[in-house]
Symmetry: C2
Subunit: 571 residues, 2 copies
């Protein structure tokens, strides 16, 4: 067993020269993680120590099982928000059931990860398109930021899953903002931004936590009505099997699946960035096992779901982490805090933690990446826009569902109206190219060469048939249409039928349809549907060969060599 | 307005020679429709006159607005079953609310049709694949047939949406079957099948209705416990605005959408068959308006949702219908029956109607078509099987939902693991073909030509990248990989990034990646993402051109003529 532990790879080959960077990164992330863990617990509606619990054993488990050397695991913003939304629906805040449900959710998220990993379904996450994810993340970040405004203003408004209601409540409550809280919040935000811009090596969150706690003690902020974190039970979390409540499991299961998908996609995306930078490989299925185990441990130690975070991983790398030893040092630091330092946080204003969250999630709204996507592929913007607006309007869980379906529909819509091109011959070659792009491409009178760029299936069969038949009435009218099938990657039964219909309708108006460049999988379908036998003399190797046959010349390629003798191989 | 009515086209140009066929078909369909309408009303849990109402004004409206000349509109089997399932969930059978809900459902189905038609979304129905529809229809027909067995046996069992429960109840009730009912049912079925096989021109349903009614009067079957249709109120339906109950609308809306999709797909499919046979055009959006109006009228006249039926349309055509005049004659006949002949049906045994349904839906289980699909494209069988089994096990409404999602997932699964081929040169040509299909194709040492047959998107980007990078370790190791992009029809931002990653990783192990046959839409994306500029010298017109450049010969095609001067046209 110890031999197969992924950690053995870096432990055996550990080089002393890496120690300095790992220690430095471990301490930096520790200083960043302690306040963040408390803040994200607050975001999830949980007491601060639960965030710290999530920053201990799960971190150690990932360091031993993970294949990323920089990924910083622990409480993360979007997972915390999803946790709040799921738990708010099944239990009252601050109730023992809420705490138990948080642990149960960790266990379930871990189980979903492990099941996907055991089934080697790491590739499933590819169904979430990058552009959809960018839109969703930005919207989720906005929701998170807005959810913290009440803490910045020092007002109490009811929890709501509807953004417009939260905004309305905030608008109504704003005049009653609590001035001392507002001052703490403003000072924290200004400090965080200033440090980030001018002294980026300083752990801003730690400075804000220390400074605001000191201010709280000096000016008795709690006495003036500023909400503080309050007493945090000292000591380590204890192992406990979460109480299994079948109804609760049923209620939490859908969110567990959503958290797994979102959390895993975020983790694997950021892990890949640094794996590429440092030239090593990430194994998605091993990552599922590692993150799943970390979440199971989170469930067993009264914590809540964890993931790999964007910001902390970036800091971890820039602070010099080269192995998971850095994460082990971080976990030891957090354990030290839990044992010795919890009394220090009693006076910490909640507004300071809210400020830390707001500044952290601001970076999740990635305007530059949005612009890049819109520039490279404007149609990807549709999925991005739908994901962002659905998440803002319908809430985070329905939002991601809508986004996934929308990104599938965008693919379908593109397939249903495929790109096509009329081809002409490039002079002195046998190449035929799109006449709209190659001004020197020459068309032949009365012979139309058409290329359609999509697999023919029920999604687009009728559209393609119409496209072919409508070209029969072109002026001047063609007597032969050559369909370049190089882009027709596949064909289903509906597509095969539509092709036969097109051949029939064209023949009725005196136009012969030829095919060329027919790929294996399509060839198999044409064979089995009988179309190959019917068209036999009108199937050619290339547009050039088709043109030769149409003009009565011998085909430049022996027709019998077209692979029709082995039509069933490798479909 | 009258000028724009679609009916004006056939009314103005009406030829006397068509009159004979239209009258003959109108009478034939009338004789078929009267018993079918009553039978399908029974299937929907409605009294027989409601079926007759649905066979009057809606038929006239479609005749005036429709673009099909043969489509026979009225009550149809699957829509009746869906109606029963929807109404059973919101009202007790035989209650006034049940009747009101049926009319409201007609109105809603009409509204959904009209909305889709106004938005010109007729193409949406292409998302239901043919194979999925064949599987779903067969399962629905089986459910319909089984639902009628209780009438054939003359036993009472509770309505259930679960097939296994219905089958269990039938099994338990079978020993208590009512012998006289069983005799009527058996005789009806034998008569129907015999007539269909040996005297197909005779309206079998009418013969069974007349014969069984006569037998009922002669032998006092009602007195012996055979259930009869009972008193049917004479007279025409009256126009009435259905009572709008917001909660009811909400309950019925999902079914209205399902009925619209299924009903419209069935109607348009059968309409297309006869349009093709008689060489005229069907306009899907005009059909949505026509069928939508027919359903709205059904709602306003106390009827229930209607559609275009397979069987009646086939008979309509073979009996000689060439214009919708035939349907107008049918409607007048049904109106005559409603005014004068309803007392005749009082003694009609319900078992005879059930027999008519069972024999009619038997043809919806299309074994020959299933075999054809499995032969032409075995993977289409997956969608067909899922649709059939999901409908049988989960019920008709969830079944169709599962089927649609399954058919989309099948497309996605195929896209995520695209077909690819290693290409070799066909001797004495410039063509490169799959070496597994063309035994004479020759590969060049250390240069791998690879063709990948799918648009590169988030669905398969990582898979394609891995495919490319893994080939770097082939034996003997290639120093150049040529990616034939003729099948890469499109590329999204995720695909563009994966390609850059592949180029990087291959360069790291000393392999150069070349592209050839890059299509316009992909060229645009490569341009905007900067990949085109980076690869410039390694993008070629064809595999042959790539090979020439790799071996230090001048490219046979001038590279600057590759259309990169107009990269944004026609994406």
């Amino acid at each position: 067993m110890p031999l197969s532990l992924p950690a053995m790879r870096w432990i055996r080959g550990y080089e002393r020269s890496n120690l300095r960077g790992d220690i430095s990164a471990g301490i930096t992330i520790g200083a960043m993680l302690v306040p963040q863990a408390m803040a994200y617990a607050l975001l999830a509606g949980l007491p601060p120590q639960v965030g710290l619990y999530a920053a201990t054993l799960p971190v150690i488990v990932y360091a031993l099982l993970g294949t990323s050397r920089q990924l910083a695991v622990g409480p993360v913003a979007i997972v915390s928000l999803l946790t709040a939304s799921a738990l708010g629906a099944v239990a009252d805040a601050d109730s023992p059931k809420y705490l138990a449900a948080a642990a149960m959710l960790g266990l379930l998220v871990g189980a979903v990860h492990l099941i996907l990993g055991a089934a080697r379904l790491g590739w499933l996450v590819t169904f979430l398109s990058h552009s959809v994810l960018v839109g969703f993340t930005a919207a989720a970040a906005a929701i998170i930021g807005i959810s913290q405004i009440k803490h910045l203003l020092g007002v109490a408004i009811p929890r709501s899953d509807h953004l417009h209601q939260t905004l309305g409540d905030l608008w109504n409550a704003a005049p009653a903002a609590h001035l001392p809280t507002l001052v703490v919040a403003g000072a924290s935000i200004v400090t965080l931004i200033t440090i980030k811009r001018f002294v980026p090596r300083l752990p801003g969150a730690l400075v804000v936590v220390a400074g605001s706690t000191a201010a709280s003690a000096l000016f008795d902020l709690a006495g003036q009505g500023v909400r503080t974190v309050g007493e945090i039970p000292a000591g380590l979390p204890s192992f406990a099997f979460p109480v299994v409540d079948v109804a609760l499991v049923g209620d939490l299961a859908p969110t567990a699946i959503v958290i797994t998908l979102i959390g895993f996609v975020e983790s694997i995306a950021v892990a890949k960035v640094y794996a590429r930078r440092h030239r090593y490989e990430i194994d998605p299925n091993a990552e599922l096992i590692a993150l799943g185990s970390a979440n199971v441990v989170a469930g067993f130690t009264g914590a809540y779901p964890v993931g790999g975070g964007f910001a902390r991983t970036a800091v971890n790398d820039s602070a010099g982490a080269t192995t998971p030893l850095a994460s082990l040092i971080t976990a030891v630091l957090v354990i030290g805090v839990l044992i010795f330092l919890t009394p220090l946080f009693e006076l910490l204003p909640q507004a300071a933690l809210a400020a830390i969250i707001v500044v952290a999630v601001r970076n999740l709204i990635d305007i530059a990446e949005m612009r890049h996507i819109l520039h490279v592929k404007p149609s990807d913007g549709v999925g991005m826009g739908i994901a962002a607006s659905a998440t803002l309007v319908l809430g985070i869980e329905i939002g991601i569902g809508v986004a996934v379906i929308a990104s599938m529909l965008v693919v379908f819509a593109r397939m249903s109206r495929p790109h096509s091109a009329i081809l002409g011959r490039i002079p002195n070659t046998t190449s035929y190219r799109n006449v709209r792009r190659f001004s020197n491409a020459e068309v032949t009178e009365n012979v139309l060469v058409l290329r359609i760029d999509a697999a023919m299936s029920f999604v687009n069969a009728q559209h393609i048939k119409r496209l072919l038949v409508d070209h029969a009435t072109d002026v001047p009218a063609p007597h032969d249409i050559v369909l370049d099938c190089s882009g027709i990657n596949d064909m289903d039964a509906t597509g095969a039928e539509a092709l036969v219909e097109a051949i029939d309708e064209l023949e009725r108006v005196g136009v012969r349809l030829h095919l060329c460049d027919v790929k294996g999988p399509v060839r198999d379908v044409l064979h089995r549907s009988g179309t190959w036998a019917r068209l036999h003399q009108r199937i050619h190797a290339t547009p050039h060969a088709a043109m030769a046959v149409i003009h009565g010349e011998p085909s430049p390629i022996d027709h019998t060599a077209m692979g029709i003798d082995e039509p069933r191989i490798g479909s």
